[in-house]
Symmetry: C2
Subunit: 534 residues, 2 copies
C-alpha cells in the first residue's frame, strides 16, 4: 500500500504491510442506536492467517527488539499523528459502531494519542528499563566478583484483545498496544467485533506509521474473527510470548486456561472488571450529602455504566441521614434519560442483571426502567437497588459486575458489620472511601482491608476517570485481573511485557546502551547499589 | 520458648512461636555418606497444622505488612546474627545431612547471612518499592487532575519450598524467604526432607530473631512433610498469596497447576533448572584451550554437578582443535574423584540419566564410572559424553537436565548448524559464550538467540557461581522457571512478592512514608515523571 493512499475500510485483516482476506466467514458491525448492520463485512482470519501473523511477528521481533528507545518513540508518536489524521472519518465510524456521543469519542481519541505520546517519552527517556550495574572486583577473596549488568528486555510478540467499552483507548492502539510497542514487542491485535471498522481505521494508521518510521512489517497486525477460535489460536501459537486482554471474566479466564496449558505457559494480563465498592461513612454523608450524591450520580451513569470502574456497590449506613442521602441520589438517577448501550450482548446482560435484582424479594428497587426501548435502539436506563448487609453476605449475585448506569446500595448497621461486608469481597480494581478526617482514623481497618483487596484506593472522590499517568494502577487481585502485580493503565504498564536479563562479563560493545559504561543515554540506574539520576 | 534457651533439634514443625507435632507420620534424615538414618524423626504436619500456620500468617500479615523498612531490616539482620550463633551445630548437622564438605557449608552459611543482610539494606533504604507521585492539577481543563501515588506493596503470606541442593542459601532462610520478608510478607517454609535438621535449626534462629525484634509470631513458620500433601495443602490455602520453589520440573509444574486451579489463582515462582548451554567458538578454543578446559572442568564438577547452573551441554566445533580440547578436558574429568551426592533420590536419577546416555548408541562415552559405590555412600562420579548435532536435534533426552558432575559435548560443523542447535532449546537459566573479539561479531546471531532463551548471558566465563548482587538474574523462560519475568537470586527478587497499589487523593497521614510529600525517607522516586534521587 502506498503510504499516502487515503485510508478506507475494506473489511480485511491486516498482517504487517499486507491485507488478508482468505476467510469465508465474516461479520458486520451493528449500529446500536438503530439495530441496523453497517457495511462492509469483516472477513474472519483463517488459521493460516493466524500462523502468518504470528510468524511475521516473530521475525519482526528480531529487528524491533533491537530498535532504540528513540526509534520506538518516533514510531509511537507517528501512530498518534496518523490517528489524528483520520479525523472525522474515525469519529463518525466509532460513533456509529458504539452509540457513544461525539464528545466521548473525541475525548477518547485524545486520550489514546496522549497515551501513545506518553509512552513515547518513557521509551525515549529509557530509565523505565531498570538498568542495574554491579562492577567487577577481580581481586576479591576467596573468589573474584564478576561484572553483572541487568535490564528489562522485551518479552516477545504480544497478542492484545481489544475491549468493547473503550473502542480506542483500550483497543487497537490502546494501552496494551502502546505499552508493548514501547517496550519493544510486536503486537497482534484481535479486533473486537463490536467496532471492527474503528479497529481497521486505527490499524491502517499504525501500519502507515510503521512504514513511515522504518519499522518491520510484522511489528503490528490486526486480525478479525467472530467467535473465540482466532483468539485461542493466537494465544496457543509458540511465537506468542504474552497476552493483554480487557473484557469479561469468562473470556479472560478462558485465555488464562489456554495460556497455562501451552507447552510453554505465558503470562496473561486480563483485566476482567469489578464492582468497585464505595464506602460512605456517616459524617462524610452528613457534611457532604449533596456533593456526594452528585458525584456518585455522575460516576454511576458515566459511559452508560459501561466502565470497569463503575461504582457497582455503595455502602451507606442505616438511619435517617443515609435515607435522606439515598432519596437525593435516587431522584437524580430517576431524572437521567436512558442512553444507547454499546451492543446487543451488553444490553442483554444488562437486562438480565437488572431483572435478576428486580425480582429478588430481598432487594428493594428504587429505579429500574429496563424495558425502555425505542426504534431498535440498545437503550440502557438507570437502575438503583438497595439491600441490607445480611442479604449481601448471603446472596453472592449482589457482588457480580453488571454494566449498568446505576448501583446497588448496601445498608450497614455498625463498623463490625461493615468490616465483615468488605472482607467478603474478592479482588477489585478500586475501593473508594468517603470519610471525614476523624473517620479516617476511626475506620482505619477499612483502609487496611482495601489495601488487601484493590489496586487503587480513592479518597473522597469517585473511581471512574482513570488518569493516564506514571503512578496510575489499573489492576488488582483476581478476579479483577488475572495478575494483580501489574497495571493496564499508565506508564508502569511498559514493564508487563518484559523480562529480566543479566549480562555477565560482557564486552562493552555488546551491551544494550542502557548498560554501557559512562551512561551514554543519561538514564537513572542502579550502579553498585547506588541510585543514580542524571 | 525463652529467647536464650539453647537451640536443639526436636523434630517438630514450628508455627510462629510454638512447636507443632500433632502428626503420626515422620521421616528421618539420611547421611548420604553412609546411608544411615540420623535422629530424631521429623513429624509431618497435619492438615490442621497447615490451616493453623496459614491462618497465623494471615494475621501476622496485617501487622508485619505495616512494619517500616527499618524494622524489617532489623529482623533480617537479627536472623543473620542468630544463624551465625548456631555455629558448629549448624555446620555439623548440614554436613551430615547433605554430604557436602565443611568449606562448602561454611561458604553457603556466609552466602545466606550475607544475602539476608543485603536484603536488609535494600528494605531499609526503601527505593526498591518504586514510589511514584503524580501531583494534582486542580484547574486542569476539561477535568481536574487528581493526585495519584503508587508503590509496590507486599502481596500477602508466601509459601517457600526449600531446595535439596542448597540446604542454606535456597532453603529455610534462603533467597525466597529473605526477599519475601524484606518485602513485608510472612513466610511459611515447607522443609526439604533431605535436610530437616538443618531446616529446624535455621527455623529456630528465625523464630528467635522474630521474638527479639518484636515481630508477630506468624511472620515465619516451618512445616515438615514427607510427600506432596503438606505442600499442596499450603499452596491451596486461601490465605496464601504467592509461592517460591526451587526443585524439579515435576514438582514445580505440579505446584503451578495447584496454584492456577485455586478459586483465586496466585503467582508461582518455580526455579526448575536447565542444561545451561555453553558455546565454545573455534578461535576461543585455539587461543585459550587449556584455560577453557580448566574452567569447564571446575564448573562441571562444582557441587558434584548438583547445581541448577551446571554446564550440561557444551558445543564444540568438529575438527582437530576441538578434538584436542576435548582430550584435555576429558583427562581432567577422569582424574577427578567421585564425591558424595545429596541423597539417594538424586543419585538414582543421576545413575539413570548417565546410564541412559551410556546405552545410547549414537552417543560416545568418554567417562562414566556410575557404578562406583563404597560403604553405602551415595557417590557421584564424573561423566563426559559426546554426540553430533544431528543426534542432539533428534534425541530430546540429550537436552534433559541431570545432576551429574559432567557434561555432554555436542559437535557442530558450521554456523548454520550451530544456530539451529541453539534454536532448538527451550528456556534456560544461563547461556555461555566463549569467543574472541572477532567471533563476537561473526557469531552475533548466537547472542541474539541466547537473549530470547536465557536469563543470564555469560561471556568467556562459566555459569556456576551465581553472584548475589543487585544486578543478578537467576531466572529465564519456561521450563527453566515458571515465570521468566523474575529472578530468584539478587535484590531484584524483592519485587516478586509484591503488587502495585495506587492511592488517589489520599490524605498525607494515610500514605506510606515512601509516598509522603517532602520525601521523609529520602528515597529515589518518580515525581511528576522526573526521576529524583537524594
Amino acid at each position: 500500500m502506498p503510504v499516502d493512499e487515503a485510508i478506507q475500510i475494506k473489511g480485511n485483516s491486516i498482517i504487517g504491510f499486507s491485507d488478508a482476506s482468505e476467510g469465508t466467514e465474516s461479520v458486520k458491525a451493528v449500529d446500536p442506536s438503530t439495530g441496523n448492520e453497517i457495511e462492509p463485512p469483516f472477513v474472519s482470519a483463517t488459521s493460516n492467517e493466524v500462523e502468518k501473523a504470528a510468524d511475521l511477528a516473530h521475525t519482526a521481533f528480531l529487528v524491533y527488539s533491537k530498535k532504540s528507545g528513540v526509534e520506538r518513540a518516533a514510531f509511537l508518536n507517528e501512530i498518534a499523528t496518523q490517528i489524528e489524521a483520520l479525523g472525522d472519518t474515525l469519529t463518525q465510524r466509532a460513533m456509529q459502531e458504539t452509540g457513544l456521543p461525539e464528545a466521548r469519542i473525541k475525548g477518547e481519541t485524545g486520550r489514546t494519542t496522549g497515551q501513545l505520546r506518553l509512552f513515547a517519552t518513557v521509551a525515549e527517556e529509557g530509565s523505565w528499563a531498570q538498568a542495574r550495574i554491579d562492577t567487577a572486583i577481580p581481586d576479591r577473596a576467596p573468589l573474584p566478583k564478576p561484572d553483572i549488568r541487568s535490564i528489562q528486555r522485551p518479552i516477545g510478540p504480544v497478542v492484545v484483545f481489544a475491549a468493547s467499552n473503550f473502542p480506542l483507548a483500550f483497543s487497537t492502539a490502546g494501552g496494551d498496544t502502546a505499552s508493548a510497542l514501547a517496550a519493544g514487542c510486536p503486537v497482534i491485535v484481535k479486533a473486537h467485533s463490536s467496532h471492527p471498522g474503528t479497529a481497521e481505521l486505527i490499524a491502517r494508521a499504525v501500519q502507515k506509521a510503521a512504514q513511515k518510521t522504518g519499522m518491520p512489517g510484522g511489528v503490528f497486525s490486526l486480525l478479525f474473527g467472530g467467535g473465540r477460535s482466532v483468539g485461542s489460536a493466537l494465544v496457543s501459537h509458540p511465537a506468542i510470548k504474552a497476552v493483554g486482554f480487557t473484557g469479561s471474566t469468562a473470556g479472560g479466564t478462558a485465555l488464562m486456561k489456554v495460556a497455562s496449558e501451552r507447552s510453554e505457559p505465558i503470562p496473561v494480563y486480563a483485566e476482567m472488571g469489578s464492582v468497585n465498592p464505595v464506602i460512605l461513612l456517616p459524617n462524610a454523608i452528613s457534611s457532604q450529602s449533596e456533593n456526594i450524591a452528585n458525584g456518585l450520580h455522575i460516576s454511576a451513569t458515566m459511559g452508560v455504566g459501561q466502565f470497569c470502574t463503575n461504582p457497582g456497590v455503595v455502602f451507606v449506613k442505616q438511619g435517617p441521614e443515609g435515607d435522606a442521602f439515598i432519596k437525593t441520589f435516587v431522584q437524580k438517577m430517576k431524572e437521567t434519560a436512558a442512553q444507547v448501550m454499546l451492543n446487543a450482548t451488553i444490553r442483554s446482560a444488562y437486562c438480565e442483571g437488572v431483572n435478576h435484582l428486580k425480582n429478588n424479594s430481598r432487594v428493594k428497587t428504587h429505579v429500574a426502567n429496563v424495558e425502555q426501548q425505542s426504534n431498535g435502539a440498545c437503550l440502557g436506563a438507570t437502575a438503583v437497588f438497595e439491600a441490607d448487609g445480611a442479604t449481601f453476605l448471603e446472596d453472592e449475585s449482589l457482588s457480580h459486575e453488571i454494566f449498568v448506569p446505576g448501583t446497588t446500595l448496601i445498608r450497614w448497621s455498625n463498623k463490625e458489620e461493615l468490616l465483615k461486608l468488605l472482607e467478603s469481597f474478592t479482588g477489585q480494581l478500586t475501593g473508594t472511601l468517603h470519610a471525614t478526617e476523624e473517620e479516617f482514623s476511626e475506620y482505619s481497618e477499612v483502609i487496611s482491608i482495601l489495601e488487601r483487596k484493590v489496586g487503587r484506593i480513592v479518597y473522597n472522590a469517585f473511581p471512574t476517570g482513570v488518569e493516564v499517568c506514571h503512578s496510575m494502577v489499573h489492576g488488582g487481585p483476581f478476579p479483577a485481573t488475572s495478575d494483580g502485580r501489574s497495571t493496564s493503565v499508565g506508564t508502569h504498564a511498559i514493564t508487563r511485557f518484559t523480562r529480566l536479563i543479566a549480562y555477565q562479563d560482557s564486552p562493552q560493545f555488546l551491551l544494550p546502551d542502557e548498560l554501557k559504561d559512562g551512561n551514554p543515554l543519561g538514564i537513572s540506574r542502579l550502579e553498585d547499589g547506588i541510585h543514580k539520576s542524571l
